[in-house]
């Protein structure tokens, strides 16, 4: 795989920058760094990186503000770094246009996986009409789902939910986003629907619904569909 994508890291911690420099460069990414929001914003404008890793806790500006300002014109993926037990911050950042998040401390393998997913998704906006993962295949044109080559019966809601998941492979989707997309705006806080239908969908497509491989719970935030 050609990894020559350019990544900008905006983080004020010198040790994190060092760690990311070594990790990313040994995986053939071209990396450069900004130590605060001001520098970060101007570097994004000057270099047009393929992906930005943004720490939400910057010394000179609230990370959410930086995110909003970037999203006024910058289209490529942004992955945010944040401290744990800040689910509200994470949800807000995803609403503000972040593509993904990682909580510190994070494993670098996890970070690399997230980077690959984000870059892949931004490269292939147009999806194939038939998507396959594990024993499941979905024909988005004819709305037919097969499990081990046999037609799998899904209710309309189950299908709608699944099709949003597969079209956002690898991405974390917030509860609110899913509820609005599948059930409509007035359902944004009716999480009971999501709980019930995610459980049902898992029973139909997961080999072991209690240890799901495809529909992963991101606690306090939402769900992530993962076929990788």
């Amino acid at each position: 795989m050609n990894n020559s994508a350019q990544i900008l890291v905006i983080d004020d911690e010198v040790q994190i920058r060092k760690l990311l420099e070594i990790t990313l460069e040994s995986n053939d990414y071209r990396t450069f760094f900004a130590v605060n929001a001001k520098e970060g914003l101007s570097m994004v404008a000057n270099h047009q990186p393929d992906l930005v890793i943004l720490d939400l806790g910057l010394p000179d500006e609230d990370g959410q503000v930086v995110l909003k300002r970037l999203r006024e014109w910058y289209k490529n993926p942004i992955i945010i770094l944040t401290v744990k037990s800040a689910e509200d911050e994470i949800v807000k950042a995803l609403d503000n246009g972040a593509n993904d998040y990682l909580t510190k401390p994070f494993r670098t393998q996890e970070l690399l996986a997230r980077i690959r997913t984000a870059l892949r998704n931004s490269a292939t906006e147009e999806k194939e009409p038939i998507i396959e993962f594990g024993p499941v295949s979905i024909d988005l044109a004819s709305r037919i789902v097969r499990l081990n080559n046999e037609i799998l019966k899904l209710t309309t809601t189950e299908y709608n939910l699944l099709s949003i998941f597969v079209r956002n492979d690898g991405r974390v989707l917030t509860h609110q986003y899913l509820l609005k997309e599948v059930w409509g705006n007035s359902y944004a806080d009716q999480t009971q629907y999501l709980r019930v239908f995610v459980a049902q969908l898992r029973k139909k497509i997961e080999e072991d619904p209690n240890r799901p491989k495809f529909i992963i719970t991101e606690s306090g935030v939402g769900y992530r569909f993962n076929t990788a």
Binding site: T155, R195, V196, F197, V198, A199, T217, S219
Partner: protein, 370 residues
């Protein structure tokens, strides 16, 4: 005594002072013709002395002044004047006043000394707790830090080369140590969240079965030698609880069970409720939801069961490791959701933690067919 004092508000203290002196004086007034005024004086002195045990210094002085005035005005001849005709009576009044004053000042002093003692006691207890924290913390944090520093030193020392295999082992130790550090920091953060009272549970519909399996997945390394059984049923309703807090609660309890039971021990997690399949959701009605986490280990010493939820408490003969924070976090997080947690030893061996909540409950059947 000082608690009684604190309970009587200052306004009421003045009232009590006036009422008691007034009552005793009016009772004596009926018997004025048969009773020597000196007896009345002693009686009022007794009233002031008794009051000195309950009242603050100002209300008490009021009672002394009031008694002196009443004695003079109503009981010492000539009646209804403040005039005193002989030296003996003036001496009596002065003495009366001095005794009341001495009484008041002495009680006041005793109370102050009591208070100071109390503050000191609280401070000593805080220090004890603080020292216990420092002891366990410095141990809990230093052990993994020593491991990391030591392992890196060994890997970096060029004069004594080490085998690839040992290098791998050291890397594994560094990883374990950093996970342990992270776990402890997590505990400390949770504790300080609880202490500062900033926890506002976000009540939302929880699929407890999913939540339990999610926690078990996070703990799979620690549970690889245990037999874990989850008992829920197909119609398990949704409960309105805080997902994040519930995760941490179950995590801490199962983690504890995994650490303090021998290999091969059985850990059983069970959810019980008492609504039937067809009940209709009522947003004003809460139902019980009971989660038990049981193991067949050695159980807890009976005399320590009450203390295990205390902050920094560690069992007398527990193995090293642990800050004594895990179970107090469980208690705090359960109570933040208005629940209760209890611990019992089981008759068949081992122990069981029981979490009891009263929550909004929703049957999943009515929404599942759309």
């Amino acid at each position: 005594m000082s608690t009684i004092l604190n309970q009587i508000r200052i306004k009421n203290q003045y009232l009590i002072s006036v009422l008691s002196v007034g009552t005793v004086a009016s009772l004596c007034l009926f018997t004025r013709d048969y009773l020597d005024y000196k007896i009345v004086g002693y009686l009022l002195l007794v009233v002031v002395s008794v009051l000195s045990m309950f009242l603050g210094i100002l209300p008490l002085l009021l009672s002394a002044v009031l008694s002196a005035l009443i004695l003079n005005f109503l009981f010492i001849e000539p009646y209804y004047t403040l005039h005193i005709s002989n030296a003996e009576d003036s001496l009596l009044l002065v003495l009366f006043f001095i005794i009341a004053l001495v009484n008041a000042v002495l009680t006041h002093k005793i109370r102050r000394a009591e208070k100071i003692l109390q503050v000191k006691e609280v401070r000593i207890n805080t220090m004890k707790l603080y020292n216990a924290l420092l002891d366990s913390l410095s141990h809990e944090l230093r052990t993994p830090i020593s491991t990391i520093m030591g392992a890196i030193d060994t890997i970096q020392t060029k004069s004594v080369p080490i085998s690839e295999e040992n290098k791998e082992n050291l890397y594994a130790e560094i990883e374990k140590a950093s996970l342990r550090l992270n776990h402890q920091v997590e505990n400390l953060l949770n504790m300080s969240r609880l202490e500062s009272g900033v926890i506002e549970p976000k009540m939302d519909w929880c699929d407890l079965e999913e939540l339990i399996y999610n926690v078990l997945d996070h703990l799979k390394e620690d549970l690889q030698f245990h037999k874990v059984v989850v008992k829920t049923d197909e119609n398990l309703p949704l409960f309105k609880l805080d997902y994040g807090l519930m995760q941490q609660i179950i995590y801490n309890l199962v983690f504890n069970a995994s650490q303090y039971t021998p290999k091969g021990a059985k850990i059983e997690i069970k959810v019980s409720y008492n609504v039937d399949v067809d009940f209709e959701y009522n947003p004003d009605k809460t139902f019980p939801c009971v989660i038990t986490i049981a193991d067949d280990g050695i159980g807890f010493p009976e005399n320590e069961i009450d203390k295990v939820f205390d902050k920094f408490y560690r069992l007398q003969n527990s193995k090293t490791g642990g800050t004594g924070l895990g179970l107090s976090i469980v208690k705090g997080f359960v109570e933040a959701q208005h629940g209760k947690v209890t611990l019992e030893n089981r008759e068949e061996g081992g122990s069981v933690f029981t979490l009891r909540f009263h929550t909004l409950t929703m049957n999943t059947k009515e929404i599942s067919n759309e």
